[in-house]
Each structure stands twice: as C-alpha cells, then as structure tokens.
C-alpha cells in the first residue's frame, strides 16, 4: 500500500542509485569490468599476480631466515622449521655495518652519521620554501659540503681516514651527492657555452658534451682507472675515488647541460630581447631573466638526470670500488656466505628504490609548486 502512495503523480522522491552502480560493486563494474576487453585484462592481471606474488612473499618473508651464523646455518634452520630455504637475511644482518659504512674505522663511524644528519639538515632549506630563517640556513647549506668533506676525510684535529676505507651506502652517497652538487654548475656553464655567440667557445662545449654523452659511463670509468695515470706527470698519482668523482661529475654535467639547453631554447626570444632593451648586461640578464625561467622548465629533466647519476654509481664495482653491490660481492667470497647473491641484489634494489623514488616524488612536488600556467 505504502509503495503505491509514493508513486503518486508529481511526488517522485529521489531514489538511491541501483546497488550495482555505487559502492564496491559499482566501482568494480566501472573500473574492472566495464567491457569485454576490460574483463579479459582484469582476469589476466589477477592470474599474473597470483603466479608472481605468493612465491615472492614466501621467499622474502615466510620462508626467510633472519638470524644465523652462516649459509649452512640458514639451511639448517629452514629445514628444522620444515620449509624450503627462502632468503637468508641473516647474511645482510651480520654484515649490515660494512654495507652501510664500508671499511670506515668503527670508532670513527659517528662522523658518517653526523655527516648524514648535516646533509639532511642542509637539504631542508634548499628543498622547501617555508623554512624559518631560510636565508641564514642557505648559508649553512652552502658551507655544509665542506664541513662534511672535512668530517669524512679527517685532518685538522680529526683522525685522517683515507678514501680506500670508504664503502657501502656511504660511498654511494658520497659519489651520488658530489656528482649532483658538482654537475649542476658545470652543466649550466656548458649549456650557456653551447648557446654562446663565440664560435670557439661553442665548439669546445659541443665537442665536450657530445663526447661524454656518446660513450657509456663504464668506459669512462675504465679510462679513469686504467689510463688516467698515464696522462699525469710522471710520479704523480690521483686518488682513485677522486678520479671516479671527477668522471662521474663530468659525465652527469654533460647530460645536465643538454637538459638546460632544452630549457633555454624553450624560452621565447622576446625574453632576451626584453632583457637587452632594459640595458641589462649578459650576466645580469642571465641571472635575473633567463636562467630562473630556463631552470624552472628543466627541473624534471634535471631530477631525472640526478636519479640516473645516482643509479649509475653501482657501476663503480666494475673498477673495484666497494659500493653496496661490490661489498656484497666481496662478502660472497667469504666461505661462510657463498651463494647468496639474490639476497644482495634484492637488498640493494630496495635501497635504491627508496632513495630514487623519493627523489622522483620531490620532483613532482616541485613541478606542481612552480607551475605558473593557468
């Protein structure tokens, strides 16, 4: 009876949408099963996940051994627990310190920790706008690399630590951060040089950029490790890490230069003409008008180059430096742990994923913040 009354003329209340259109069911219908193709894709994807994910989880968590003294130990523990041997994370746990600090003397490791904190502190004012006393803080950021260099290398009151003691994630950070900090100014200079009206200067910059971009980083590292000594005056040698740092910085500078050139070319010609007509000198117009705009456009590219550089630090193992991967492989030469390469690869992959992904996220944030279009 009551239903009939609600159908009276002119009295249609709004009905809730059918249950198939809202809530979980509606969402599934719209997002997973909206057409035949979609249904097929969904089913295939679920099947794919079913094949990949459970064995992976088993290996990483459920069958893994987290504390043991050797690989045999891991196997025995897994056997006693009655399952296959998954990851032997005990290996990573036992050697965690040398994965992080390399061969750095144990009693001096506070210096690495302090450096890391200083680096983070120095990054805050650079990365974010709304920091109290940002101007003063930026001076600190400018000084931080030198303080960190002093902390890591020692001297002037601290026990000197030679660079061959550097290793593990600390080495990755040293190479990555130095490369990033060093390559930006060099890259800008190269980009401006390439756009310069002076043919000799332009030619030199073009030759340099194209040479570096034309060859793989590992061949440059080979050059640094096998040939560079021949190019120095007899009797002098370079620290290997310093050679690598220079190569990595130059390598990444060439890529940065191309990214920034893209930014420079994207600026309308009117901008520079306007700057000229205001009577600004070359450096003034660059500093005040051109570079701020060009750099802003280039940010995604710059961050991508940095991520690439950071990932490329793994290549130093090929010339015998101990980054986490190299440290892992050297550790595998210890008879106690032989054969556990997958654990190393996964562990190092996770580390890189975390750091690179956060860099990429920051770049997105920056792009949004700097977006001034409509």
């Amino acid at each position: 009876m009551s239903t009939e009354r609600s159908h009276a003329v002119g009295e249609h209340p709004e009905l809730p949408p059918p249950s198939t259109e809202v809530g979980i069911i509606g969402w599934v219908r719209h997002n997973l099963l909206s057409s035949t193709t979609n249904i097929v894709i969904t089913v295939l994807t679920i099947y794919f996940l079913y094949i990949i994910v459970p064995p992976m989880l088993n290996w990483i968590f459920f069958d893994a051994v987290f504390s043991a003294d050797s690989r045999d130990d891991c196997r025995a523990i897994a056997k006693a627990a009655g399952h296959e041997m998954g990851a032997c994370w005990a290996f990573i746990g036992k050697r965690f310190e040398i994965f992080v600090y390399g061969f750095y003397p144990a009693e001096e490791r506070w210096r690495i920790n302090l450096s890391f904190i200083l680096m983070l502190a120095a990054l805050v004012p650079v990365l974010f706008d709304h920091v109290p006393y940002r101007k003063q803080a930026l001076w600190f950021s400018l000084a931080a690399p030198f303080i960190i260099g002093w902390l890591l290398l020692g001297g002037m009151g601290l026990t000197p630590v030679p660079t061959d003691k550097f290793g593990g994630f600390m080495l990755t950070l040293v190479i990555g951060v130095t490369g990033i900090v060093g390559s930006l100014p060099i890259g800008i200079a190269l980009a401006l040089g390439r756009q310069s009206h002076m043919p000799a200067l332009r030619m030199v910059c073009v030759a340099f950029i194209e040479f570096i971009r034309g060859v793989p980083l590992i061949t440059l590292l080979f050059v640094a490790s096998t040939m560079l000594n021949y190019f120095l005056p007899p009797g002098t040698t370079f620290d290997l890490l310093l050679r690598v740092l220079i190569m990595v910085t130059l390598f990444s500078a060439a890529y940065i230069a191309e990214v920034i050139r893209g930014g420079l070319q994207a600026l309308p010609k009117g901008q520079i003409e306007a700057a000229d007509s205001m009577g600004l000198k070359y450096w003034q117009s660059m500093r005040l008008i051109i570079l701020p705009q060009a750099l802003k456009i280039s940010i995604p590219g710059i961050v991508n180059t940095f991520i690439g550089l950071y990932k490329d630090t793994t290549l130093v193992i090929i010339i015998g430096l101990f980054d986490p991967l190299g440290m892992g492989r050297a550790s595998l030469a210890d008879t106690k742990w032989q054969g556990l390469s997958t654990e190393i690869y996964v562990f190092v992959a996770i580390f890189f994923f975390v750091s690179c992904f956060s860099m990429a996220r920051y770049s997105l944030y920056l792009e949004k913040k700097l977006y001034t279009g409509h």
């Binding site: 040398i98 061969f103 490790s225 620290d239 440290m327 492989r329 595998l332 008879t335 032989q338």
Partner: protein, 341 residues
C-alpha cells in the same frame, strides 16, 4: 706556450695528491709514508676478502702484512688496493701500489712485456676442471662439446683454448668476470664444467651444499705459479719484498714459528740458520736496507709460510686445501727457499 704549460703543470700538480714521487726508492717512499700500498683482489675466498668486520684477511693478505711488519714494524700499516684483473698491473705500474699479491700467474710476457718484476712463488697452482659426478665424466679428454664456465681476466681462457685445440675438441666458453657469478652459473647447470685454478676449484667445491656430488678431474692442464710482483726497475725494493717471502718459507723449514720466534731472537741458539734469520748472527737486514729484527717482526706478525697456509686455506678451513706441491721440498713438495746467508 711555455707559460701555459707551466700553468697547466702547476695546476695539475696542485690537483694531484703526490702520493709517491718516484725519485726516491720505493722502500724510502713506503717508510716516509708509513704505509704499504698492497694490491689485492676484490675478493677471492681464502686468498683475500674482507671479513664480517670489514678487515682484510686471507693468504695473500698475510704476505702483505708480513711485508709491512718487516718494513714498517706494524702489520696493520697496509693500505689494501682491491683491483680487478684488468686494473691490477696498471695500478702497480702507475705507482699507486707498491706490491702486488693477487693470485697472479708468473708468465714470460708479464715479466718482460708488462714490465713487472716477479719475486718468487707463494703458491703453486694449475688449472683443473670440476664436473658434477652425475655427468659420469672421468677425464678431461671426454669433454668434447661441453659448456665450460671460465673466469676472465686470467690466463685461464688461454690455457683452455690451447688445451681443446691441442686435443681437437670443441667447447662452448661462458666467460664470467667473477668467481661468484661463475659458481652461480655452474650450479644452475648453465655449464657442464667449471674451470679455474685447482685451488679455486677446491675452495668452490668446499662451499657447495653437497661437495661430494662434484669431482675434480685428474688433468691439470697448465702450470700456474702464483707469485707477488713489483714494478720493474727498483732492485732494492724487489730485494726487500723477495726476501720477506723467502724468509717466511725458510722459517717453516727451520721450524721457526709465530710462537717461538721471539724466544729465538732473545739469544743466539745452536741453529745457525735460525740465528741468521732472527738477527743474532750477522746483519742480513741491513743488506736490504732494514734492521736486524726484520724477519722476527714478519714472522711474529703472521707466522711462517706453513702457519699462513693452514690458517687461511689449509685442510681445517672452509677451503680444505692439502699442501700438495706447496709442501716444503723436505716433505715431498717443491717449495724451496734460497738460504738466508
């Protein structure tokens, strides 16, 4: 032009940390620096690898430490320069390293063409083959058509090519950079055979889940005398390093050990060989620019040859290598040190 050259030179000199001016002898350089730069591998089980605490340890490493003890009086004053097969000679030749202890086979071309001076042999090795027992192979002559994992950067690939060509057999080489990758490939069945120096095979097999499922074939296809090397052209430094190696071998023969060397050094005994080594008779240290106690320091730091061997690669270690050829000549081996006299 001259002005620019001077400028460039001074700039480069300012950049380059002058870690070893080649004008003085290497011995003086090392002593002035207070540190021995020793070139080792990036990791070979038992021979040189960082331990859990990150400290370098192994057979070759101990010889480096003994040298440092003799020259500098402290076995820990060693800077280890890990190198790949590709970079080892460059590092030595460029002056970055003072001494090379890196499973390096002595060959004529390396001695003459690569401008090295080899000091002697600290391990007699030879290239062998390992196969799974299940394959049913008992001789390397039956390996026609097999896939073989080799480690590059050594003389291994050359010996292998020669051996198979000489026996008119074919094979598929799988060239791997590191021992670790080679092992992964072999265990996964990517190769039928794993070939490297016999010591390496034994150590690799020792770490397998079931070592008994693999056999090492009787054929040894090459001579691999592994020895230390220094740059050519500094005879004094070559003498110092050569005699540190010799005295460690001679010490074993004479019965001088890490435990008793201090006692022998305290006062001259009846054994003149020992007396000469520990400096209670004659002054052999000064002949190579060191003091009388040089050998005492080396031996008390790491022990004699036999002790170094047993501690790092001997039968009681994970590698479980028997002395074999590396036993003293008095015990059926070919280890034979010239006398200290």
């Amino acid at each position: 032009m001259k002005l620019f050259k001077t400028l460039a030179v001074s700039a480069a000199v300012a950049l380059a940390s002058t870690s070893g001016a080649a004008t003085a002898g290497t011995l003086q350089d090392v002593q002035a620096r207070g540190e021995l730069n020793c070139v080792v591998t990036t990791g070979v089980a038992g021979f040189a690898a960082p331990d859990d605490a990150g400290r370098w340890a192994g057979f070759d490493v101990d010889f480096c430490r003994a040298t440092a003890a003799a020259v500098l009086g402290d076995a820990d004053k060693v800077k280890f320069i890990p190198t790949t097969g590709k970079t080892r000679f460059t590092v030595l030749n460029s002056g970055e390293g003072d001494l090379l202890y890196r499973n390096t086979t002595i060959t004529m071309s390396r001695d003459a063409d690569l401008k090295l001076t080899f000091l002697g042999v600290n391990y007699y090795d030879g290239q062998g083959f390992m196969v799974p027992k299940a394959l049913g192979v008992t001789s390397a002559k039956e390996l026609d058509g097999a896939s073989i994992c080799i480690q590059t950067g050594t003389t291994t690939e050359l010996n292998l090519a020669d051996y198979f060509r000489a026996n008119n057999m074919s094979y598929e080489p799988v060239a791997i950079e590191t021992n670790e990758e080679g092992q992964v490939n072999y265990l996964a069945g990517r190769c039928d055979v794993y070939t490297t120096d016999a010591s390496g095979l034994a150590s690799t097999r020792g770490t397998f889940d079931s070592p008994n499922a693999h056999i090492i074939l009787p054929e040894i296809i090459s001579k691999e005398p592994l020895g230390p090397a220094v740059r050519q052209g500094d005879d004094q430094w070559a003498d110092v390093t050569r005699w540190v190696l010799n005295v460690l071998i001679a010490a074993e023969e004479a019965g001088l050990t890490q435990g008793n060397v201090k006692g022998h050094a305290a006062k001259a005994g009846s054994n003149v060989d020992i007396n000469r080594m520990v400096g209670t008779e004659g002054d052999f240290g000064s002949m190579i620019g060191l003091d009388k106690q040089w050998a005492v320091r080396a031996i008390s730091a790491v022990g004699n040859y036999g002790e170094i061997f047993e501690r790092n690669i001997g039968v009681n270690t994970g590698l479980g290598l028997a002395r074999g050829l590396n036993a003293q000549w008095t015990n059926g081996g070919i280890l034979y040190s010239p006398p200290v006299r």
